[in-house]
């Protein structure tokens, strides 16, 4: 599994592969990442969906990816303390991959759902996604 990004650690995500080889992303909500009202900022769910869909594609293809589009729906921002996310690939056409993911709260209720379009980068891409 690829290394964690610094943003990943800054927010406090934890990623692992389950027994079926699927990427699972967990978040235990820290006091510094909540909103003024104590709810979960939608940006956290956006980040989870971006990471879990991108990681699922990257893990499946063993290649780096770059996000092209993300479309997300949010259902509940009540802070349940911990969240998990998983994703699946729904279409591949050349270097363009479409995946979908969902974020669940501690009671396994879906709180956000997203669909994302990602571009697969060359294994020899530089840090900006350009082939070198």
């Amino acid at each position: 599994m690829r290394d964690y990004s610094s943003f990943f650690e800054h927010v406090g995500f934890h990623k692992y592969l389950d027994k079926n080889g699927c990427v699972i992303l967990n978040l235990k909500v820290k006091p510094e990442v909540v909103s003024e009202e104590g709810t979960v900022p939608s940006g956290l769910f956006s980040s989870m969906l971006d990471i879990v869909i991108g990681s699922t594609i990257g893990e499946t293809l063993q290649l780096p990816t770059s996000t092209v589009n993300l479309n997300m729906n949010y259902f509940d921002f009540t802070n349940s303390g911990s969240y998990s996310a998983h994703a699946s690939i729904i279409n591949r056409s050349g270097k363009v991959i479409v995946g979908e993911g969902m974020v669940l709260n501690g009671e396994e209720k879906v709180v956000a759902k997203g669909i994302g379009t990602f571009k697969v980068l060359s294994r020899h891409s530089d840090e900006k996604g350009r082939t070198v």
Binding site: S6, G43, S47, M48, S66
Partner: protein, 134 residues
């Protein structure tokens, strides 16, 4: 309860997540809002560029600011669609946003992120629900 512009601005700045990421409000007038983010390495993805979650967070925030500056009413995101146009690393990025359509409960807004050279790096459109005290 309707809040003043200063109270609304302070409520954004009081969010722990807002300061944890490092956002700074540049302009907060009715219908004229701008936000900036100095890019630091803690916000990078594995490719060494700004993480896509940060783009989404910043667009979500600028749309919420645009809506609250006009309606003075709290709102919650229902849907957000982000198009990623270019990577960013180093310097700072700025966000602008505006309302496209305002109903009694549902508001649609759009916003963009620009890098230090003024090039657009992301564009988003979002649907928000106004939380009215009734």
């Amino acid at each position: 309860m309707t809040k003043t512009m200063d109270e609304v601005r302070e409520s954004f700045e009081a969010s722990p997540f807002f300061s944890h990421i490092g956002f700074e409000i540049v302009q907060f007038e009715e219908g004229d809002v701008r936000l900036k983010l100095p890019i630091h390495e803690k916000l990078y993805n594995v490719n060494g560029t700004l993480h896509g979650g940060v783009h989404a967070t910043m667009i979500d925030l600028i749309l919420g600011m645009a809506i609250r500056s006009t309606t003075k009413t709290r709102c919650t995101t229902m849907n957000l669609n982000i198009n990623y146009l270019a990577p960013a690393s180093g310097g700072e990025i700025q966000a602008e946003g505006r309302i496209l359509k305002q109903g009694y409960r549902i508001v649609t807004a759009e916003g963009e992120l620009y890098d230090q050279a003024g090039d657009m790096i992301a564009k988003g459109i979002g649907t928000f629900k106004l939380i009215r005290d009734e």
